[in-house]
C-alpha cells in the first residue's frame, strides 16, 4: 500500500486534477508522526492502524456471486472511499461491514471481516448489537416519519442510551444541523429539505455513539450545495469516527478520502458478472499513479 511516488512527476501526468483534502493529509501526517505506521518512508501521508481487515470477503445472492475476493484494510479515523462503476458491488461490499446483507433473503457472505481481532461475520456475533456500533447512512435520506427529536431518540432508546436533551443537541451540533432546527425539534422530519434530512440521518447515526459510520452514496440524491455541506461534515466526523463511503463521484472521492478502494466488474467462466477489488491505496496514489490499468481507465474517464 505504501508507494514511493514522486509528487512532482505524477502531478504532470496526473490523469485528472486532484483536490486532495488538506485535512485528510494532515490527519495522515499526524498519525505517521505518532508512529502509527513505522514502515512508511515516503513523503506520502500514510494511513493509521486498521479497524477492519477484510480477508477474501465475498457475497453470494443465491447462485450469483456478487462480490468476490475483497482483501483490504480500513484505517481507523480516516475516510475510505469505495469507488467503481455501477453494479460493481460497492454497496453490497459496504453492507457486509454491519451485517445488513443478513436482511436480504438468499444473501450469503464468505471470507472474514476482522473488526478489531474478531470476525464480525461469525455466526455467534449478534448483528443487532453490531449495528449499534457500526452505523449506516443510506443513499436516499430515510428519516422516520416522526419529529426531528423522535428521529434522534429512537436509536438511543434501542441502544440503551438515555435520550437526554443534551445528547440530542450534541448529535445535531455534530451533524451541523443544530442551528437550522434548534427552534423546531418537534417539527416533522419530512418538513426538512433533502440535504437537511440527510444530515438528520447522519445525526441519528452519531447519536448512538458508533465507532464506524458507513455511508452508501450519501450525496447522490442531493444538489451540489447540500453535497458540499455533507462533505464538510464527513471531513469533520473523520476526526472521531472511521468513515467508509461508497460513491460513484470520483471528484468527491478525491475531495474527501484518505484511502480509496477501486472496485470493478469481471466476467466469470460461467458467464456471471462478479464485483472485484481492483486496487486499493491512498487517495493521492490512486488518483495520481494508479497501478492497475482498469483503475486508470476508470479515473481518466475512458470507461464507466
Amino acid at each position: 500500500m505504501t508507494t514511493n511516488v514522486d509528487p512532482e512527476k505524477t502531478a504532470k501526468d496526473s490523469p485528472i486534477e486532484i483536490h486532495l483534502a488538506a485535512g485528510a493529509a494532515d490527519r495522515g501526517a499526524s498519525q505517521q508522526a505518532s508512529g502509527a505506521q513505522p514502515g512508511a518512508t515516503s513523503s506520502e501521508p500514510s494511513l493509521g492502524p486498521p479497524i477492519f481487515r477484510l480477508q477474501d470477503m465475498g457475497v453470494w445472492y443465491g447462485k450469483h456471486h456478487a462480490v468476490r475476493g475483497v482483501t483490504m484494510d480500513v484505517p481507523r479515523n480516516a475516510i475510505t472511499a469505495l469507488i467503481g462503476p455501477s453494479g460493481c458491488g460497492k454497496s453490497t461490499a459496504l453492507r457486509c461491514l454491519n451485517r445488513m446483507n443478513d436482511l436480504i433473503p438468499g444473501a450469503r457472505v464468505e471470507g472474514r471481516v476482522l473488526f478489531g481481532d474478531e470476525d464480525l461475520l461469525s455466526s455467534d456475533v449478534d448483528p443487532v448489537d453490531l449495528r449499534g456500533r457500526i452505523g449506516m447512512v443510506f443513499q436516499k435520506p430515510n428519516p422516520f416519519p416522526k419529529s426531528i427529536k423522535d428521529n434522534l431518540e429512537f436509536g438511543m432508546k434501542v441502544n440503551g442510551i438515555k435520550p437526554t436533551a443534551e445528547r440530542v443537541e450534541q448529535a445535531l451540533v455534530d451533524a451541523a444541523l443544530w442551528d437550522e432546527v434548534k427552534d423546531r425539534l418537534k417539527a416533522e422530519a419530512f418538513s426538512l429539505s433533502g440535504g437537511q434530512q440527510q444530515r438528520l440521518c447522519i445525526a441519528r447515526a452519531i447519536a448512538v455513539e458508533p465507532e464506524v459510520i458507513l455511508m452508501d452514496e450519501p450525496c447522490s440524491a442531493l444538489d451540489p450545495i447540500a453535497t458540499l455541506a455533507i462533505e464538510d461534515l464527513m471531513k469533520n466526523l473523520a476526526e472521531r469516527y472511521t468513515l467508509v463511503v461508497v460513491t460513484h463521484n470520483m471528484q468527491q472521492a478525491a475531495r474527501i478520502s484518505d484511502q480509496v478502494a477501486f472496485m470493478t466488474v469481471e466476467g466469470t467462466a460461467e458467464g456471471d458478472r462478479t464485483g472485484v477489488l481492483a486496487e486499493v491505496g491512498t487517495a493521492r496514489q490512486i488518483f495520481s499513479a494508479p497501478k492497475d490499468p482498469r483503475t486508470e481507465a476508470y479515473i481518466t474517464g475512458r470507461v464507466g
Binding site: M100, G106, S123, F138, K146, G155, V158, N159, A205
Partner: protein, 344 residues
C-alpha cells in the same frame, strides 16, 4: 464559396409553400361513439342508485324520528322503533372488532414482516449447532424441527397467502354456516350477539388482513432498514416505526371492513334466525353472550317480510338509518386516509 460581389440573396419563398397546410378539425365518429357509450353506462348506474335512494327516502323519511331511534320493537307499526336493532348492531360491531382486529393485524404483521425475512443465517446457525454435536436428545430434535420449519415456511406462507385471498371472496352465507357449526354447535355459545359478532369477525378477518398487509407494504423498506441499521431488532423497527406509519392505512381498511360487516344479513340469519323480540340489548359488550341476536339488517328484513304496508314504511326508515351509518363510517375512513396518508 462565391465572390464578395454577389448580389443580395434571392428573396425567401413564403413560409406557407414549404410547410404542409395544417389539417382542419375533423369528426372522429368512433371516438364520439365510445365517449357516449361510457357516459350512457355511467348514467344507467347512477340512475339506478338515485332511483333506489329516492324511493327509500320517499317511503321512509316520514318515519325517521327521534322516537323511531329510541323506541322498542312492537307489533304495532305505528309504535315500533329501531332502538333494539341499533343497539344490537353497535354491540355486534364491538364484538367483531375486538376479535377480528388483533388477530387480523397480527397475521398481517407476521406474513408481511416476519415470514418473508431471510432465514439463511438462522439455518446456518442451527446446522452448525447440530454439527458440533453439543445438542442431544430433545434439544437436537427441536433444532431439527426448526430447520424443517424454515425449509417449508415459504411454501406454507404461499399457501396461506392464496387461501386468504380466496376466503375474502367466499359468499357470506358460508360464514354463517361456519359460525353456526363452530360457535353455536361446537363451542356451545347461545344464538346471541356474541355468536353473531364472532361470525362477522371471521367474515371480515381476511379483509382486515389484506388491508393491513397493503398498508404495511406501503411503508418503504428504507424505514425498516434505517431503524435496523441503528441497532434496532426487527420487532423494535416494526413496532416503533413501520407499524405507526402504517396505522392510518390499517384503520381505514378496518373501517371499510366494518362497514361491510354492519350490513351483512345472511350470516346472521343462519346463526340466529329472524326472531321477534321486544328485548332491548344492553350496550355492555360483556353481556353479548346473553342478548338475543338483533341487528339493523335483521330488523329491516323482518319488517319487509310483514304483510302490512305500514311496516314497509318503517323498513324504509330502517334502511335510511343503516345507510346513514354506513355513510358516516366511510366518511371517517376517507378523512383518515386523506389526513394521515404519507407521501414517501
Amino acid at each position: 464559396m462565391s465572390t464578395l460581389e454577389t448580389p443580395a440573396p434571392p428573396p425567401q419563398p413564403p413560409v406557407a409553400s414549404t410547410v404542409r397546410p395544417l389539417a382542419k378539425k375533423r369528426a372522429r365518429p368512433s371516438e364520439q361513439l365510445f365517449k357516449w357509450l361510457v357516459v350512457g353506462l355511467t348514467a344507467i348506474t347512477m340512475a339506478m342508485l338515485i332511483w333506489l335512494l329516492t324511493s327509500v327516502l320517499i317511503r321512509g323519511a316520514g318515519s325517521v324520528s327521534w322516537a323511531f331511534l329510541t323506541d322498542k320493537p312492537s307489533s304495532n307499526p305505528a309504535k315500533a322503533g329501531f332502538n333494539s336493532a341499533l343497539r344490537g348492531s353497535i354491540v355486534l360491531m364491538m364484538v367483531t372488532i375486538f376479535f377480528a382486529w388483533p388477530i387480523g393485524v397480527a397475521a398481517a404483521l407476521y406474513l408481511e414482516k416476519f415470514a418473508a425475512q431471510s432465514a439463511t443465517l438462522t439455518e446456518r446457525r442451527l446446522r452448525e449447532r447440530l454439527a458440533t454435536g453439543r445438542v442431544t436428545g430433545p434439544g437436537a430434535a427441536w433444532t431439527r424441527i426448526r430447520l424443517w420449519w424454515l425449509r417449508i415456511r415459504p411454501r406454507v406462507v404461499h399457501l396461506v397467502d392464496v387461501n386468504i385471498s380466496n376466503l375474502a371472496a367466499v359468499p357470506s352465507i358460508i360464514y354463517g354456516l361456519l359460525g353456526l357449526a363452530i360457535f353455536v354447535g361446537v363451542m356451545g355459545i347461545s344464538k346471541s350477539l356474541l355468536a353473531g359478532g364472532l361470525t362477522l369477525a371471521v367474515l371480515i378477518l381476511p379483509i382486515i388482513i389484506i388491508a393491513a398487509r397493503e398498508a404495511l407494504r406501503a411503508v418503504p423498506m428504507s424505514i425498516e432498514q434505517g431503524a435496523m441499521a441503528l441497532g434496532a431488532t426487527r420487532w423494535q423497527a416494526v413496532r416503533s416505526q413501520v407499524f405507526p406509519a402504517a396505522l392510518p392505512g390499517i384503520l381505514t381498511g378496518t373501517i371499510l371492513a366494518m362497514s361491510r360487516a354492519i350490513g351483512e344479513t345472511a350470516p346472521l340469519i343462519v346463526v340466529g334466525g329472524v326472531v321477534y323480540s321486544t328485548a332491548v340489548p344492553s350496550l355492555n359488550p360483556l353481556e353479548a353472550g346473553n342478548e338475543a341476536l338483533l341487528a339493523m339488517p335483521l330488523q329491516i328484513y323482518f319488517w319487509t317480510d310483514q304483510p302490512q304496508a305500514s311496516f314497509q314504511a318503517i323498513a324504509a326508515a330502517g334502511i335510511i338509518v343503516l345507510l346513514a351509518t354506513l355513510l358516516v363510517m366511510n366518511l371517517v375512513a376517507i378523512i383518515l386516509r386523506n389526513r394521515y396518508s404519507k407521501r414517501w
